[in-house]
């Protein structure tokens, strides 16, 4: 359970919120710049990759949290939730890929894979916690 009195968890939340803010800002910049045709050529590639920077940064933040968390049980819970989310994301994306290839499933934009992963983390966390009650 997330607790703001835990310094590692507090730092993690603040860092994740900052990264999410930058991800949102960069995504909006990419949409405004590229989709509305203000930017083209090489700068458009730079703008397109920009939202991926805070996305990659959240993985660094997660790694930092795992090394800063002194409560080994909480660390263990979070690792289990992340592993569950990785498994669920890979399973869904793989299944969806086959459905796209061999069925009539609509195309899944790769940009949705990352939010999907965090949704699975959010779903997995209370389920993992329940095992220890």
């Amino acid at each position: 359970m997330w607790c703001l009195s835990n310094p590692a968890q507090r730092r993690y939340l603040v860092r994740m919120i900052s990264a999410a803010f930058f991800c949102l800002v960069f995504s909006l910049a990419a949409v405004m710049g590229i989709r509305h045709g203000h930017v083209s050529g090489l700068p458009s590639y730079f703008l397109a990759v920009l939202p991926a920077v805070p996305v990659a940064w959240t993985l660094v933040i997660t790694g930092a949290y795992l090394s800063e968390e002194k409560d080994e049980f909480q660390r263990n819970l979070y690792i289990q939730a992340i592993l569950c989310a990785v498994a669920a994301t890979l399973a869904v994306v793989t299944a969806w890929g086959y459905m796209e290839d061999f069925g009539r499933a609509p195309h899944l934009r790769l940009a949705w894979v990352y939010p999907m992963f965090w949704i699975f983390v959010a779903v997995a966390m209370p389920l993992v916690q329940r095992r220890y009650r």
Binding site: M1, C3, N6, K70, D71, E72, F73, Q74, N76, Q129, R131, Y132, R133
Partner: protein, 64 residues
């Protein structure tokens, strides 16, 4: 791994929250260790032993 944590804690009239504070872990951690659902690492087991003034094997017993 079985342990006598609940008994030792009750003898000292400590709540799970008291023990968690002394160990610098969450109350959920203490509960998970007490119920035998989570085995602590060696450093945490030593910390527990020091706190109760006992040896590790006086708190934890191997089921095997």
């Amino acid at each position: 791994m079985k342990n006598r944590l609940r008994v030792l804690r009750a003898e000292r009239a400590w709540s799970q929250a008291d023990l968690a504070k002394a160990l610098e872990v969450s109350r959920q951690s203490v509960n998970a260790i007490e119920t035998g659902k989570f085995d602590p690492s060696l450093p945490l087991a030593f910390k527990l032993a020091r706190l109760f003034g006992l040896r590790i094997e006086e708190i934890f017993t191997d089921e095997g």
